[in-house]
Symmetry: C2
Subunit: 375 residues, 2 copies
Amino acid sequence: MEAIRYELIKTCKQSGARLGRLHTPHGVIDTPIFMPVGTQATVKSMTPEELKEMEAKIILSNTYHLFLRPGHKLVEKAGGLHKFMNWDRAILTDSGGFQVFSLGDLRKITEEGVLFRSHLDGSKQFLSPEIAIGVQNSLGADIIMSFDECTPYPADHSYTKHSMERTTRWAKRGKDAHKYPDRQALFGIVQGGMYKELRYESAMQLQEIDFPGYSIGGLSVGEPKGMMREILSHTTRFLPKDKPRYLMGVGTPDDLIDGVILGVDMFDCVLPTRIARNGTAMTSRGRLVVRNATYMEDFSKLDENCDCYTCRNYSRAYLRHLVKTDEILGARLISYHNLYFLLNLMKKIREAIMEDRLLDFKKEFFESYGYEKNF
Amino acid sequence: MEAIRYELIKTCKQSGARLGRLHTPHGVIDTPIFMPVGTQATVKSMTPEELKEMEAKIILSNTYHLFLRPGHKLVEKAGGLHKFMNWDRAILTDSGGFQVFSLGDLRKITEEGVLFRSHLDGSKQFLSPEIAIGVQNSLGADIIMSFDECTPYPADHSYTKHSMERTTRWAKRGKDAHKYPDRQALFGIVQGGMYKELRYESAMQLQEIDFPGYSIGGLSVGEPKGMMREILSHTTRFLPKDKPRYLMGVGTPDDLIDGVILGVDMFDCVLPTRIARNGTAMTSRGRLVVRNATYMEDFSKLDENCDCYTCRNYSRAYLRHLVKTDEILGARLISYHNLYFLLNLMKKIREAIMEDRLLDFKKEFFESYGYEKNF
């Protein structure tokens, strides 16, 4: 039996977006969904209860970071990642591939895997498809990722093709090494850079191996937004309708809306919590830099259209004070708001799909939001 | 009408400690009480709701910090400190005296007041008894403090006497300048260093001016614990029984218990939140340095005798991971536990007074706690 099951509820008649339901060992998730990122077994500054308050159903955690600290064996001894971090809803872990490839000169890629130096202490480390899956088996997330190479942008056709093909071979090795397919769903990751035929080939090769879900990697890595949309559109059309699709690392409001329209079910991004710690909020009128002097005596709430805990209780002036004085509560309150904003945006998107008016919703959203205040 | 009213419920037959009730414009407070410190209009890393969960009834905020940032006029425009920081229970503000005197070379004291340079930007600033009260009138706390000089330790008799007498004169000027005695209770601060007769004189001079409560300043400033207890004992005996007594800046478990025994009703200290951010917990078995390798695979809770949110949900191993990775949640969870520990200690102290067994309680507490693991 598979660990997860995806149920396609309906397709938006206006936009083609998918409304679905993903059944996991830790609960049912209405899709499309945004997944808050908890890199080091904590969604930065938030408690699990707060994430539940804002209706987060699944969070992401990073294999690379947990592999190095505190170590997957320790997490396994603690009873797995859910128990370790006190989160009883679904978890998705990435494979560590993206992080080790980002190490640049500190890593060496061979067919066997990637030798790299820890960014923490410079110690030599090795990750391969088998090890990455083994680590994720220890962590115990509901959804886990194949070890892939995230092709950089730009990259030439030959490099991209070889890289994509290795990602396919690694996906197969990962699947063979996977110990708990009945309780952890392993996704294949579509690569192929900005080359349509390579994206097609990648999607086909992975489906031949057969996975319970498919991720789309190597997008939002520096390419123009138009190109990203075109490749994404070209990729999702070759993915099976009865499996979930996850667009990795994408989370600006416009990318979320367009991603959904182009057939994506799952998203994750560090953006909401990262910019919050820097004092920037996501609002229905676009980006709001809380530390700006404009808000010094502004006693209105962060977002006039928001009813989250932060907006119900605190003024821009108070949040600005907390940001300016480096108070932890500032990072907390803005993180809460930003995560709530994206989770609530996804909820509105699901409602719009249900009512076949996602294109109308997109138009309305951007009339207020304003592309110029995007991220 | 006075802003506050102190009701002496009973005196512990075993220890002489006072059980009381303090009626304030923002609620009734059972005393003796510990007041969490919210220096910059936030108890570091905590929300007001969390403070209520752990039954905090009154918090302290610092005039010096708020005077500089965001400025008391801004807080006044926001509707006062309670509204600004979303805390509808009682607040006590200090006068800024302790902070400006701590600036050392950056300040100059005259009879008129203290000229100093801001620790933030070096700008020239001035605080006098009248200004300090004016700032506190703008902030709007339920209990406010006279502008005093905290005599350093050691200090000779002549210096201490002159300093104490100026504190008395400043207390009188502050009382005359106080605009809202009906909604903000102004306390006089007993000084006099380590000289018993000066402590006596200070207590008498202040009572002649007449305040609704009395603070004891200039203790726990480096003197031996035995000396502190002796001076404290000598001071409280000259304070009126029908007014609350507040021992400033004291908050280790042994100082709290002994302070209560010596007749103190109110305490504050940054210790619980400060050490928490550094990864140290207060437990029923004394100090616990969470980041120690000992706890790497320790899946038990922080304090076996604690039922706080942190202890109900997280292991030492997880907390250690958060501390080691500098995650905000680590500071949050340990701060929560430490504040809960002290508030809960005060609750047990109140119960022990009610049952005339505070000396027994002290003995039992230290059998488990261990002085060697004190702070």
